[in-house]
């Protein structure tokens, strides 16, 4: 299951059109609307979580853009569940930013969130699924 947390901006001329409905109808996507509002200038803003097959999510985003919706990703936070991590190091080979690395002497697998770009490669590669995605929902809902 592929998941994206998005902020959508609807220009005034399309705020009265049914758009989100088609994500489910045409693209077989599941959506969860966390926030939706129409601003005084008639521009619509929506925060929603979109999930489904990765291909469908991509097609759905293309559709949104074609309708004039501005799509932005919400910053995702990758966290490590230290209770679960085995310190094997399988994640360190695929991490593109070296946010995950093996410390030379201690042989500990270190996760440095400051270097993490949120690509999520480590999430499925971790044999015990110790890397977790947290959406910083609080930030977007303010």
């Amino acid at each position: 299951m592929y998941k994206r947390m998005l902020v959508l901006r609807f220009p005034p001329e399309i705020t009265d059109k049914p758009i989100i409905y088609y994500l489910s109808q045409e693209y077989n996507l599941c959506f969860n609307i966390l926030k939706a509002t129409i601003l005084p200038g008639e521009e619509g803003i929506m925060v929603l979580e979109l999930s489904g097959h990765q291909k469908n999510v991509k097609a759905g985003l293309k559709y949104l853009r074609s309708k004039g919706v501005k799509v932005k990703s919400v910053a995702q936070e990758i966290r490590r569940n230290d209770e679960v991590c085995l310190m094997c190091g399988a994640c360190t080979g695929i991490c593109p930013t070296n946010a995950l690395y093996v410390e030379q002497d201690s042989r500990q697998v270190i996760f440095n969130p400051e270097d993490c770009k949120g690509c999520e490669l480590c999430v499925a590669v971790c044999p015990v699924r110790a890397m977790e995605i947290r959406f910083s929902k609080e930030k977007v809902l303010i």
Partner: protein, 388 residues
């Protein structure tokens, strides 16, 4: 028979353990001791070297007796949390294999499959004390009329559970790279295209069979640390192959020996029996395993004192070549090089990544050391050594 300056027997070492006088060090510590003092002096001073390894070991599983029901059932098919077991044994016996996925797992249909739950995970849940859903089907007999049963079991409640792993603790293993243009998902982990990473899987100088490379002290009856409890080597593992090229210290240059091990699952700990999911490949079980090596003479001191810079493996292409079944070595590298973080192949610097937890391997060697120092753990003298 070689003439040694130091000659100790299992009995002498065990007597010292009983008296709390045995000198026990980890294989990591032994490297420094031998380099500083030489093999003879090290052999005089040190009695036992402890080893450890903690990584996915696919050839693992457990014999379970699920207990008789009333009325009785001759369970022909048994599932635990939806994971099929092999039940072609006596009425309520079955074997749960670590790599068996849950029956409704999508496998690799959506590629790469995630394999989130399988036999290894059931073993972990059992050892962690969780209740597991048992479902059994039978054709019904006069003496065992019941045709199906569904109940929750726990490790405590079932009469018998014995971990019995046909192939563990591989002595050496390939270092895997991918020469193709696409990412591949293998049992050696996710390999990025054009040698984006090089994965290896061993605890190297801490690994049990690297400390007794020619199997001079290990065989059927060797007592070991298995899954957090006591266990035994019960023979050579499947694919045990002693006939490979070796260094002058006897270290195999490619995969060689393996162990078949067994231990009471009820005495194990969830920290050392952990279900794992290997992306695009399957489910497995990470097993904690440690073997104590008696330093019978200076030769054993030499073996146990061998460091990562003197142990080598071969770099193999898992992108195109390995699947064909015919491989050739791209390069020979030492574990010291692999542990440095990168190796060089054909002029390209390739990032290395371990799949075996060195931190946890070290922890196992320390625990085993503590057990022996306390006098709780005697060495088992093998009744028959592994084929060499």
């Amino acid at each position: 028979m070689a003439n040694f300056q130091v000659n100790k027997t299992f009995q002498e070492i065990n007597e010292k353990i009983r008296q709390g006088k045995a000198v026990v060090v980890t294989a990591e510590e032994m490297v420094g001791i031998v380099r500083k003092k030489g093999t003879v002096k090290a052999a005089r001073e040190v009695d036992v070297v402890t080893t450890g390894t903690f990584s996915p070991m696919c050839s693992s599983g457990a014999f379970l007796n699920i207990g008789h029901t009333r009325p009785g059932i001759k369970a022909a098919r048994v599932w635990l949390n939806g994971v099929p077991t092999y039940a072609g044994l006596a009425a309520v016996d079955c074997y749960l294999g670590a790599t068996e996925p849950r029956e409704d797992d999508p496998l690799n249909k959506i590629y790469p499959g995630e394999f989130l739950y399988g036999g290894g995970h059931v073993l972990h849940d059992l050892v962690a004390g969780k209740s597991v859903l048992l479902r059994a089907e039978a054709y019904g007999t006069h003496c065992y009329p019941k045709k199906s049963v569904e109940k929750r079991i726990t490790l405590k409640k079932i009469p018998y559970a014995q971990l019995c792993n046909p192939r563990n603790a591989y002595q050496n293993y390939n270092c895997a790279v991918n020469l193709t243009d696409k990412t591949v998902f293998t049992y050696m982990g996710t390999l990025k295209p054009r040698m984006g990473n090089a994965n290896y899987c061993t605890s190297g100088q801490l690994s049990p069979l690297f400390n007794d490379p020619l199997y001079k002290t290990i065989g059927m009856g060797t007592r070991i640390f298995l899954g957090g409890g006591p266990g035994y080597v019960i023979g050579p593992g499947t694919q045990h192959n002693p006939d490979v090229e070796r260094t002058d210290r006897g270290m195999p240059r490619s995969s060689a020996g393996t162990l078949m091990v067994s231990g009471n699952l009820k005495l194990m700990s969830p920290r050392w029996v952990v279900g794992v999911s290997i992306l695009g490949y399957g489910c497995s079980l990470a097993v904690g395993l440690g073997v104590p090596i008696p330093v019978l003479n200076e030769e054993m001191a030499m073996y146990t004192g061998t460091g990562d810079d003197e142990i080598f493996t071969q770099v193999i292409d898992y992108g195109a070549e390995y699947p064909t079944g015919e491989t050739h070595s791209l390069k020979e590298v030492s574990y010291a090089e692999l542990k440095s973080g990168s190796i060089e192949i054909d002029g390209k610097k390739v990032k290395t990544a371990p799949l075996s937890s060195y931190v946890r391997a070290r922890e196992i060697a320390e625990i085993l050391k503590e057990w022996i120092e306390k006098g709780d753990f005697q060495l088992g003298q093998p009744q028959e050594l592994l084929p060499s």
